[in-house]
């Protein structure tokens, strides 16, 4: 009797472990960490998750949004397999020794704009002015602006830069064209071509959002990366074709995460993101874009990073 019980338990245990092994093979669990909270900036990725495109491509991927932890840290610690970063932030991290690799680039144009209370025409008009911007504004970019204006400008990173600008506390603000610029407009401020400067038109057209993985992860999971890229591109493709559906999905996500949200703002943000992505639907970082961005880090940086090892 005891022998029979022993055989039965061995069989059951064998069955259990076999089943567990099969499930782990079927779909790889992974995550994408965005460097800011849920919004239409990440519409293609949110849509790919919510509409099951990752699952359809054999991935069990979760999109996790900014919770205060820097994206590079999430990648280094392995808390996220994929992170979204601006190109400058990614290069900065790479220069600091973090072996991350660009696997997908969905922004090919700089979104940064200077919005002014007074009419402005070029960066030179900002000389001697105090400019506010949001916290964690890219240092390399800030330094380049300082360099161009011969240090004759003050860029202050503060919280609630939109409020500070709208209440009239500050006359200049550097912000993104897909988010803060719309917030300023939505608070009742009339933005026209006379009081806005696009950095992309001032020789500072550095591509921004891209998706990065650790080099090691890429080497180990090339198929997973391929699947991620394929599903993400599908997500952005659907977002561009069906904007209202994409906004619906994003708003649902934002509501779930207790974030302020409204359709008008998210629709505008998505349209602007699609504009920044470009008409040719290119999801890869180009050598030219890489070179121009690396230029801001000085000559030394060129010897440290090469395009082939940085971008897949």
């Amino acid at each position: 009797m005891k022998i029979e019980k022993l055989i039965l338990s061995v069989l059951l245990s064998t069955l259990f472990f076999t089943a567990k092994g099969q499930s782990s093979v079927s779909a790889m669990q992974s995550s994408l960490y965005t460097f800011w909270t849920a919004q239409s900036q990440y519409a293609g990725f949110i849509l790919a998750e919510e509409d099951g495109l990752y699952k359809a491509n054999g991935m069990d991927l979760k999109v996790i949004h900014f919770d205060g932890t820097p994206a590079v840290e999430m990648l280094q610690t392995g808390k996220a397999d994929f992170v979204s970063l601006t190109l400058l932030d990614a290069l900065d991290a790479r220069l600091k020794g973090v072996k991350l690799v660009n696997i997908l680039q969905f922004s090919h144009e700089s979104s940064f704009v200077v919005v002014s209370n007074e009419p402005v025409r070029s960066l030179k008009d900002l000389k001697g002015q105090e400019i506010v911007t949001y916290r964690a504004f890219n240092t390399t970019l800030k330094n380049e602006i300082y360099r161009r204006l011969a240090q004759n400008v003050s860029i202050k990173e503060i919280y609630s830069c939109v409020e500070a600008f709208c209440t009239g506390a500050y006359d200049y603000v550097i912000c993104t064209s897909y988010n803060e610029m719309y917030e300023i407009e939505e608070s009742g401020f009339d933005i026209s071509s006379k009081n806005i400067i696009h950095l992309s038109k001032c020789g500072l057209n550095i591509p921004e959002d891209g998706i990065y993985v650790m080099e090691e992860f890429l080497q180990k999971n090339p198929k997973a990366v391929d699947k991620f890229i394929k599903a993400s591109i599908e997500g952005w493709s659907i977002a561009s074709q069906d904007i209202e559906h994409s906004v619906d999905v994003t708003l649902t996500r934002m509501e779930r995460e207790n974030l302020l949200h409204n359709r008008y703002h998210e629709r505008n943000m998505l349209k602007e993101m699609l504009r920044l992505h470009g008409k040719d639907q290119n999801f890869s970082l180009t050598q030219k874009e890489f070179d121009e961005a690396l230029e801001l880090f000085g000559e030394e940086a060129k010897g440290i990073i090469d395009f082939d090892s940085f971008a897949r």
Binding site: R135, I158, Y159, S160, V162, T167, A169, G188, L260, N262
Partner: protein, 783 residues
């Protein structure tokens, strides 16, 4: 349908219905105007109420805001004192006190950073009311927040835009006051956070509770355009007025809020969210928030509509009841009309004996109408009886007149005597009185080879004229063969003139024809002259007209004479013929009479009388006869000897109506030649057969074609020559039928010409100059 019929047939229902409809329309119009005015009034009141409520809200929020500001700002000196002493505990105690005194979430102070040294302390009010003071860590970079930055930069008080608190995610605003030292540098910021819910939720609840019009709602917009209060809770904090207005296609909302944020206040009617809305708006001075109190127009209208519907239903029910009561009253008051209606129906049916029922005594027009109707009944009854008597009398009179008519007619030549025909003369007459008895007369008599005749027309009509006429006829009949027409006229004149108080007179022609020599003597007393037919011509016989008899007693009448030729015809007539009128009041005229006579001059006397009557009837059609009509035709003739030659011709159309005319023509010849009646019958039959044959077959597809019949009498032989231009046809060529065969075995046709051959002594046919010429001869026996 039944109700409609009832309303139509009942006076009370009809009047009630009209009163109901009329009153209903008038009241409804007044009601509608009143409601329109009420609605306008309500709109004005709503604007007033909303304005008052907006002021109240501003005042309430202002009070809260001022209380916080006052409590913070009043600690300015104390703060500096404690700061100078570096007495952190005192500072902590101070902010704790402020938190106690105000309705705030937390009170804080943040010192100006010295290098990397920062210091900030919060007195946080827990939900249970306990206040804990805590210090922020160095990681918390308060100096990068607007509540610190703005007062620092401008050294003035600042209210932040609403934000979400890090703890419990509540919406709050922060008031921050810069503490400035004696050198003018800001040493710290002292401030407090207020939870928005404490301000806005109370206000929204107040609107729902106190607004006189249900459906009014409050909208609060922060100075950065974000909703702080909105009827759609989802929009609060999430939406700005810009996103809301543009997403919901509500441009007027954007315009109004822009005005508010620019410091304007007022009210307007705008289209908000697809609804016409009354909006009262203003800006809160301390926070620069916009406040809008909106009342959808429809809510006011719906309030009025509810009132209208309820009132309308009640009014309609009231009208129905009133209509029923009015109907009963009118029905009761108009009850006599029903009685009168039945009574008039009875009277109309001939019941004059049943009095009109008067069972009520209203003393008004209706009662008088009843009495008048009964009087009318009595009068109608009497009148009806009178009419019955009159009718009986009239019937009796008509009977008497009929007898008088018969008597009068008996004085004229009777049926068998209407025509006289012998070898010397033929007379035919016709009299048609306009009334039962008339004043026209004619008579003749043959005495000792002399034909005496009279025609007359007594003035006036009816019985008086008929009596004169009777007297005249009696006097005529009393004459003998030797009497002169003049004597008779003189006699009648003297008799009629004597005691002629009624001034009656009479026109006459009295004549006497000696049949042996044709001498005619006659006396005309004012009558229309006779017409003579001689040799195919018609002419008026010249004569003395004289005066009608009865006018002048001793008037000397003159006699006239004429010798008639054999074949001559004279026509006597009364003025009823030329003066007969058609419907157009046009006279028949002497001319037309002469023409009618001329057209028929070859006919017999009977044919002439008949033709003129026909022509007269044709002329007057249905116009009533206004005068007596009398005519007499006399044909003087002399037996033609066998050696004498007679030729007559008649032209006829190929129409069946011509057959009778031809028959009259033949008959005239027979009379003229005094041919035996039985012989003439045979001749008539043969000629008619031959004529009908031409009419029917000679001219196929044509009408109005002329043919002729020529009659010649010589040596006791009558020769009839029928000539037509129709298709060639020889009737004599047809083989005689075998009359010995049974009628069913005989072939159709051929009997007509066979009959002609049997009657006539000789029948021959020739086709000469494209004309059929059929010659028929009949030998007459010598008398």
């Amino acid at each position: 349908m039944k109700i409609v019929n009832n309303i139509k047939s009942s006076f009370a229902a009809k009047l009630s219905f009209m009163l109901f409809i009329g009153t209903f329309i008038v009241v409804t119009c007044v009601y509608a105007i009143n409601n329109f005015r009420t609605r306008n009034h309500m709109v004005k009141e709503a604007v007033k109420d909303n304005a008052a409520m907006v002021d109240l809200f501003i005042s309430k929020i202002g009070k809260e805001i001022n209380l916080v500001e006052h409590n913070i700002k009043s600690r300015d000196m104390l703060f500096k004192e404690y700061y100078k002493k570096r007495d952190v505990d005192a500072l902590d105690a101070m902010i704790k006190d402020v938190a106690k005194e105000c309705n705030v979430r937390e009170v804080f102070y943040a010192l100006r950073p010295r290098g990397e040294r920062t210091y900030m302390a919060d007195a946080l009010k827990e939900p249970d009311g306990k206040i804990n003071v805590m210090r922020r860590t160095r990681n918390y970079k308060y100096y990068l927040h607007t509540y610190y930055l703005v007062p620092e930069k401008y050294q003035k008080d600042y209210w932040t835009a609403p934000y979400f608190t890090t703890i419990a995610s509540q919406r709050a605003i922060t008031f921050s006051h810069p503490i400035i030292d004696t050198t003018g540098d800001m040493i710290a910021v002292l401030g407090a956070d207020i939870l928005l819910e404490t301000l806005t939720d109370t206000l929204s609840a107040n609107v729902a509770k106190h607004s006189p019009i249900k459906g009014s709602y409050l909208m609060l917009v922060s100075k950065d355009g974000r909703y702080l209060a909105h009827p759609d809770k989802k929009k609060i904090a999430n939406e700005t007025y810009i996103t809301d207005a543009r997403e919901n296609d509500c441009p007027e909302l954007e315009i109004i809020v822009r005005k508010i944020l620019d410091g304007e206040s007022g009210n307007c009617i705008a289209n908000l969210y697809g609804q016409r809305t009354i909006v009262t708006y203003a800006q809160m001075p301390e926070l620069e928030w916009g406040i809008m109190l909106a009342t959808p127009y429809d809510t006011i209208t719906s309030v009025i509509l509810e009132y209208i519907i309820l009132s309308f239903v009640l009014m309609f029910i009231g009208f129905l009841i009133m209509g029923f009561v009015i109907y009963r009253i009118i029905w009761s008051m108009s009850k006599p009309l029903n009685v009168y209606s039945h009574a008039s129906a009875r009277i109309a049916a001939g019941d004059f004996d049943t009095p009109v029922e008067m069972t009520f005594s209203s003393g008004d027009e209706l009662e008088k109408l009843g009495k008048d109707m009964d009087d009318m009944r009595v009068k109608l009854k009497n009148y009806y009886e009178d009419i019955q008597i009159s009718a009986a009398q009239r019937e009796s009179m008509e009977k008497e007149l009929s007898i008088a008519h018969d008597i009068q007619m008996s004085m004229l030549p009777v049926e068998s005597e209407v025509s006289l025909s012998n070898e010397y003369v033929k007379v035919n007459g016709y009299l048609n009185p306009a009334k039962e008895v008339g004043g026209d007369l004619w008579q003749y008599m043959l005495k000792d080879g002399k034909l005496m005749f009279i025609i007359g027309d007594v003035s006036g009509k009816g019985v008086p004229a008929s009596l004169v006429m009777a007297q005249t006829v009696c006097l005529f009949k009393a004459q003998d063969a030797d009497s002169s027409p003049l004597d008779l006229v003189m006699l009648i004149n003297s008799l009629l003139s004597e005691n002629n108080e009624r001034n009656m007179f009479e026109t006459l022609i009295v004549g006497k024809l000696d049949l042996s020599d044709g001498k005619l003597s006659f006396c005309n007393a004012g009558h229309d002259p006779m017409l003579l037919v001689r040799d195919g011509k018609v002419e008026e016989i010249p004569m003395n007209r004289n005066l009608p008899v009865g006018l002048i007693e001793d008037f000397q009448y003159r006699i006239d004479s004429l010798t008639m030729q054999p074949g001559d015809k004279i026509l006597l007539y009364t003025d009823g013929i030329p003066e007969a009128e058609n419907e157009m009041k046009e006279l028949y005229s002497l001319k037309r009479l002469e023409n009618a006579l001329l057209e028929n001059c070859e006919a017999s006397t009977e044919g002439i009388i008949h033709s003129i009557r026909e022509d007269l009837h044709k002329y007057v059609e249905s116009a009533p006869q206004s005068d007596d009509i009398t005519m007499v035709c006399i044909n003087y003739r002399k037996m033609i000897s066998n050696t004498e030659n007679l030729t007559r011709t008649i032209v006829f159309k190929n129409q069946m109506s011509e057959v009778s005319r031809i028959a009259e023509f033949i008959e005239g010849i027979g009379e003229e030649l005094s041919i035996d009646f039985s012989v003439m019958n045979g001749i008539q039959l043969a000629i008619e057969e031959a004529v009908v044959n031409i009419i029917n077959y000679a001219y196929p597809d044509k009408t109005d074609c002329d043919s002729s019949l020529r009659v010649n009498f010589k040596d006791n032989v009558l020769t009839f020559i029928l000539t037509d231009s129709g298709i060639p046809f020889d009737p004599t060529g047809k083989q005689d039928p075998d009359v010995s065969l049974d009628i069913s075995d005989r072939p159709i046709g051929g009997l007509g010409i066979f009959l002609v051959k049997k009657i006539m002594n000789e029948v021959s046919y020739e086709y000469i100059s494209e004309q059929n010429v059929l010659t028929m001869k009949k030998e007459l026996k010598t008398k």
